[in-house]
Every structure is written in C-alpha cells, then in structure tokens.
C-alpha cells in the first residue's frame, strides 16, 4: 500500500508548548482523508511540517515516500494552509500566474481554473477586495491548477457562511472526483468531514487518538429509516438488516444502491411506505466521545 503522508514519531515543540507529541500516522493514497481535532490539536503543525514550512523537533514526515518539505516531494503536492492570503496588489489572475511561474508550470489554463472555481467575474479584481469565501475559492484553484497527486486542505471553509461552506464542499468533492487527487482535509466542520471523507484521523494535544473509516469510528453505517406499516412485515422482510426505530419506523442497514430494490420489494409486498430517509452516521457524537474518553486518560 502506498501512503500519501507518513509521520513517524513526529514531535514539534514551540518553547514549552508541544504542538505534536510523538505522532505516528499513515494516510493512504487515494480518496479523501479527514484530520479532525480541537484547536491546538496539531493539525496545522502537521501540515506545515509536511509542506516544509516548519521543521520537526524530532521524527520524520514523508510525502509519497519522499522527505516532507523537500522539493522532490512538493512537486506533486498542492496545499492550502489555513485561510489563503495573497499579495494585496495582485489580481486573482495575477496571483495564479505568479504561482504558476513559481511552480514552473508552463501550460496552466488560468482562466479555465478561475471559471471552475466561479471567479471569472472577479479575475481582474485585486485579491485585497475579496471576501473570505472568494479567497478560499482562489486558494482551491491554486491548489489544483498544477494538477497535483496530493492536495492538503487545512480548514478550507473556515470563516465562511453556510452557503459558502456548501459551495466549497461541493467544489472539493467535484475536484477530487474529476482530478483523481488524494485529498487530506482538516476541518472543524464535522458534517463536512462526514460528507466528504472516506477515512478520518482524530488528533488531540498533538497525539493520534483514533483513526479509521468514518463508519468504523461512528460505530454505525448510514441506515435507511423507513416509516412504514405494518412494521412487523418490514422487519420480517429485512431480517438481520432491519431493526425497529420507534413504534412506526424501521432502520434498514443497507447500502445506498440497494434502496430502490428494497422499496420496490416492500411496495410489492403490500407495505405502505410513508417516508424513506437516510440517517447518516453521527460523527459528531463519536468525535466528542473519543475526545472525552481521551481526556480522563490524560488526566490520569
């Protein structure tokens, strides 16, 4: 298995503060990987070490097998560390052109990328006049326009309104699918992580406290909640895949693609279906449980 990012015994101290504490983590290549944790958990420090902005106090970090921060490892990586900032005198188009020159990318379709992130109308506006959301979108274009194999996105929706968050989330999902890039995403938006990420790592006080697929961490798979009558008949049809959820509802633990066939079967069997809705895995509860379980352990 190849890894997009590997950390082995990674420690970073700033004076008395230990931002990363002997962190070991392997993030597999492919898909979207979420890094969660409260403020000060070490997410940004991990990314800054990966991108060569900060040197570790001890331990090793590797990007796609090459030493992190080294020019050879950064060539195929795009990163947006915290809210992107740009020299205020540059327009959006100039900012991308400057970054393309810096990367040695000669054949970048700058206008095409501005269009993809919805900034064509602001291409010739100075970035100093941009809203946070516009800066984030320009930052995403700057991450993806050199066609990296790995993209590191640190809080890509921080400081944005709900509509902006939704927009950026869709954009990330679309770019990940269209460009086939491994994405490592840090976010406080647990709903965003649950919707976008395949696997998740949770950091606390610079240490890894949990890691795995979202479903494993939440302890439950997404389930189809059916309000139907008679419930007993639905439960009988579902067998092990069904369980009652109140007097008139059933939770069907099935894959998404199985839903249409199940509904057809239930209707064919004479069941009245009043409502069918997916209940997503509750990452927020799992996240808080994991962190709370970690706190007493630390206190001891």
């Amino acid at each position: 298995m190849s890894f997009a990012l590997e950390a082995e015994g990674l420690t970073k101290t700033y004076g008395a503060v230990r931002a990363l504490d002997d962190l070991s983590l392997k993030i597999p290549a492919g898909g979207v990987f979420g890094v969660l944790g409260p403020n000060g958990a070490g997410k940004s420090t991990l990314f800054r070490i990966a991108m060569g902005l900060v040197r570790p106090s001890s331990g090793v970090a590797r990007l796609s097998g090459a030493p992190a921060g080294h020019a050879s490892s950064l060539r195929r990586v795009g990163a947006m560390i915290e809210t992107p900032r740009y020299p205020p005198y540059l327009t959006a188009r100039d900012a991308l052109k400057m970054l393309a020159l810096e990367s040695g990318a000669r054949d970048v379709d700058i206008d095409g990328w501005l269009d993809r992130v919805g900034l064509t109308h602001a291409a010739d506006r100075k970035t100093s006049t941009f809203s946070v959301g516009m800066k984030q979108r320009l930052g995403l274009a700057a991450v993806f326009f050199t066609r990296p194999s790995l993209a590191i996105l640190d809080e890509p929706t921080s400081g944005m309104d709900p509509a902006g968050i939704q927009e950026i989330r869709e954009l990330i999902r679309r770019l990940a699918a269209e460009e086939g890039v491994t994405i490592i995403l840090a976010s406080h938006q647990l709903d965003e992580v649950r919707r976008v990420c395949d696997r998740v790592a949770i950091l606390s006080k610079g240490k890894l406290v949990a890691e795995g697929p979202v479903e494993t961490l939440t302890g439950q798979k997404p389930a189809l909640r059916l309000v139907a009558a008679p419930v007993a008949q639905v439960l009988e049809l579902l067998g092990d895949q069904g369980r009652a959820d109140g007097p008139d509802a059933v939770l069907a633990t099935i894959e998404r693609h199985e839903a249409p066939a199940l509904i057809r079967a239930l209707v064919g069997a004479g069941v009245d279906i009043h409502e069918a809705r997916w209940r997503e895995a509750d990452l927020e509860s799992a996240y808080l449980d994991i962190l709370q379980a970690k706190e007493p352990a630390d206190a001891r």
């Binding site: 900060v54 020299p87 020159l101 810096e102």
Partner: protein, 268 residues
Amino acid sequence: MLADAFAAERFRLLRDRGALFWGVVFAPAAGLVLSIGGELFARRLMKGAPVIPVDLVGRMVKALAGGASPITGLFVLILAAAVLAGDYRWETWRLLTPRNGRANLLLAKLATAGVAVAASLLLYALLAAVGGLFSAATSGSPFTAYHGEALSDLAGAFAISWLQLMVLVALAAVVGVVTRSTMGALVVGLVFAFAQSIVASQLREPTWKALAIPAFSGDLLKTALLMPHSVTDDPVPWAAALAVLLAWAIGLSAAALALFQRQDLTRE
C-alpha cells in the same frame, strides 16, 4: 528552479506599483525635478551670468556616482523591504514555500531587487542626461566633451554604486528574515546607511578599519576612478575596497539565506 522563482518575483514586482514607484522611479525623478528647478531658480537669481557648457556624460557619471547616497539608499530600502520582507507582512510565505526551494525563493528576491536597483541607477543616469538636454535647450548652453574615459567611468560608477546599494539590500534581507517585518528591514537599513555615511565622512586614511565600512570603500573606489589625481600619492587599495564591498554583500546575503532556510514559518 531558481529561474522559475526569479520569473515569479519579477512578475510580482512589476505588479507592485507602490514598490516600483518609490524604489525605482521616485528618487531619479525627484532628482530631475530638483535639478531643473534649481537651475531655473539660479538662472533667475543670476541674470547675465556666463553660460556654462553642458557635459552630458559628466552629468550621467555624477548621477551614477551619487546614486548610493543615504537618501537614495532610503528609497532602495523601501523596495528591498517590500521584495524581501513583504511575504512576512502579507503572510504569503505559505503560498510560495511549498512551490519552490527556500534558497531559490530568497535568491530570486535578492536577484530581483538587484535588477530593480540597477534599473533605478540607469534611470538616474538617463534623467541626468535629460536634465542636461533641458538645460542646453532652455539656456542655449553649448555641449562639451567629457574629460575622461566615458565608458569606463560610467560603467565603474554604476558598478560601485550598485554594489554599495546591494549591501543595503542584503542587510534588508537579513533584518527582514530576523524581524519578519518590512518596517524592521527599512529602519535598520536606514540607520546603517546614515551611520556608515557619517562615520566614513570623518575618516581620511584608508586603514583596514576605515575600509571595513562599505561607504568608505565605495567612496574611495569612486574617487580613485573619477578623480585619480585628488587622492594621495600612495597607491589606492582598490582591490581591498572592492573585496570589502563584495564581502559585505555576499556575507549578508549568505547569512539571510542560512537564517531563512532554518526558519520556522509558523504564521506566515
């Protein structure tokens, strides 16, 4: 690659109109305005004074030789601070560092500042010639030939002033990296420029201590080049003076590079 970083820095500076105006254009343009204004004023005060022939090359050499004064140093420092420490101010290192090597990024900035300083000096010379043409056109002064080796004097004055200004640029690089501040780079550079100029003006003999001051070495080289008969009969230690200027510029650049490569960019 260094060439990529240099192309990006050049592109960026050309878009930074504030830094370009103050760092490259303002001082030569102000010099031209003051020269023309002063000449018109003097002509009005001294009506009937004899017409002085205009030496275009002489004016250009003088402008180039004076291009490393502390006042012009101030404007070069504005440019150097913007180019070398701007990414701390704008917190944009995190945008650049993952795209190119740190050494390339800083060397490209030094090279870009060097090109801008050269452009500013050339503008000084060009506008000094424009001032001479204005003077000749408005006063009817005849032109006169330059008494000296025009090409070597022009090139020599340009090279020495450029090297003196590059010492300030390299100092701005070190201070910019250490303080992570454009203002720090500007203020420390300015204090250094004025202090060395004042100290150098008090010294006469080219001792090692005196030569160690870049302003003294630069002025000594220019005097030896442009007024070879005005200096003492003793041979001028031009090689030592040149070595001092080079050592300052290269040493400070190397220090900036070493510090930057080891620096944690935690906020920027």
